[in-house]
């Protein structure tokens, strides 16, 4: 039997499968993924040197790592040419070793957050140093959301879902895995998705619909699930309330033991963690739009509806989230076997640098708008456009290529 609805990834192919050299790299990545356990310690390590030397400015190190050092490393190290072969995918995807790394990372993220809370509250720092410490904790909270995303997709694995809730609770963003799975994956690359950005929309405008929109959608989805089971959304079965209780308990204890400095510290660290996710959502589908069929239904999400980056260094740190087309095709596919696709929209840099330029709208627009136009072949009707600048964008860019 054939199905007319099977066009999705039929025309897209993963980049050529690995040869022997690539296969060796894929196997060595096994050890490189320990970076997910080590990276959360970066603020603590820099704090040690700040305490030893008295240079409070070192508390900013993780911020510099994110926006300066990592983009530089990405540029130097370059792209990851390797893709796991089908045989290797079968072998690696069920290897629990990679899951245990995520469990250890979960523990490390809490150690890092509590450790930084201790550091900012037990030593004499200027407010600017404390700000650096809080923002550094925020960067790490953002990385925690990536691990939470990874585990939050493994819905049929209770231990992974529990760890997802725990790690998302670091920044009080426990609703994410519900909203992301059942919301974003359904509505991706449509104007209805609060987690897909529109061309011409600055990140500062995007965040105002993304954060409240995501929470509202998560709550509605969870309430609907609980009502189906005959339960109230105001119960401990609510998977948004569960991680929220972890956050409230931990934050209350830290404030009780470490003092009122925890209020701005935790607020900034959480908010900056959320901001990292906002940047990811802003970058991943900017301007890309799924078309509607004759019945007014959106076409399925296809590889060309996600921006990808195949940079080796940032992919290791971000659990191959940048191989985003494959993620939307196989949402439960574990990070160690996500693949790069041919002929998909490609970002000019890895996420760290793209996050940085997303915060400077004129630079972002100058880099990304031409790429969206090229993707849409000049037809602005095919672009997910911010309605407020629609006329301006049409006037400026609409020039559809006519088939010969």
């Amino acid at each position: 039997m054939t199905s007319k609805a099977t066009q999705l990834y039929a025309d897209a192919h993963p980049v050529a499968q690995s040869d022997e050299k690539d296969s060796a790299w894929i196997k060595s990545k096994r050890y490189w993924y320990w970076i997910s356990v080590i990276l959360p310690a970066a603020p603590l390590i820099s704090s040690y040197f700040a305490i030893e030397t008295g240079y409070g400015i070192l508390l900013w190190f993780t911020v510099a790592l994110m926006y300066a050092i990592l983009p530089f490393i990405d540029r130097i190290v370059g792209l990851d040419s390797s893709n796991p072969s089908d045989e290797l995918v079968d072998k690696l995807k069920d290897d629990r070793y990679y899951v245990y790394i995520m469990y250890l990372a979960t523990a490390m993220h809490w150690v890092s957050l509590v450790g930084m809370a201790y550091v900012v509250s037990h030593f004499e720092w200027s407010w600017i140093s404390i700000l650096g410490g809080a923002l550094s904790a925020g960067i790490v909270n953002g990385v925690a959301l990536v691990a939470g995303h990874e585990m939050g997709h493994k819905v049929n694995d209770k231990a992974q879902v529990t760890c997802a809730k725990l790690i998302l609770a670091c920044s009080g963003y426990g609703h994410f895995f519900i909203e992301h799975n059942k919301g974003h994956h359904r509505h991706v690359a449509t104007p209805e998705d609060p987690a897909s950005s529109k061309m011409g929309e600055t990140i500062y405008k995007f965040v105002k619909r993304e954060i409240p929109g995501a929470f509202k959608r998560a709550w509605e989805l969870e309430a609907e699930r609980l009502h189906r089971m005959g339960k109230s959304e105001w119960s401990l079965s609510n998977e948004i309330i569960q991680p929220a209780l972890v956050t409230v308990t931990a934050y209350t204890l830290m404030t009780a033991y470490f003092g009122p400095i925890m209020i701005p510290f935790l607020a900034i660290a959480a908010a900056f963690g959320w901001w990292q996710l906002t940047c990811a959502n802003y970058v991943e589908h900017y301007g890309l739009l799924r078309q509607k069929d004759d019945k007014g239904r959106y076409e399925r999400c296809q590889p060309h509806h996600s921006w990808n980056s195949n940079h080796k260094a940032s992919n290791l740190i971000l659990l191959h989230l940048q191989r985003h087309s494959d993620h939307h095709a196989h949402p439960t596919r574990p990070y160690q076997v996500l693949r790069d696709f041919e002929d998909v929209p490609v970002l000019p840099s890895g996420y760290p640098w793209m996050f940085f330029i997303s915060m400077i709208p004129p630079v972002w627009f100058s880099v990304m708008n031409p790429k969206v136009i090229e993707w849409a072949e000049g037809d602005m009707n095919k672009v997910n456009l911010d309605a407020d600048v629609r006329d301006e964008m049409f006037k400026r860019y609409h020039n559809p290529k006519v088939a010969a």
Binding site: K4, Y9, N181
Partner: protein, 58 residues
């Protein structure tokens, strides 16, 4: 009366249910189509996840 042999499958990502008894006629999959008979490259109509991301459910 429904055929007790028909099963239901749930998309692990978005919770969409594929009911073999109902099929997905609008997708070209007639009622009564067993899940195993759906082409392997078929994807979830809601979230585009692959067929392998569906699991047997009650």
């Amino acid at each position: 009366m429904s055929n007790p042999e028909y099963k239901k499958y749930c998309c692990v990502t978005c919770d969409l249910i594929y009911d073999e008894e109902i099929g997905f006629p609008e997708e070209g999959i007639p009622a009564g189509t067993l899940f195993e008979d759906i082409p392997d490259d078929w994807t979830c109509p809601e979230c585009s996840a692959s067929k392998s991301d569906f699991f047997l459910t009650n």
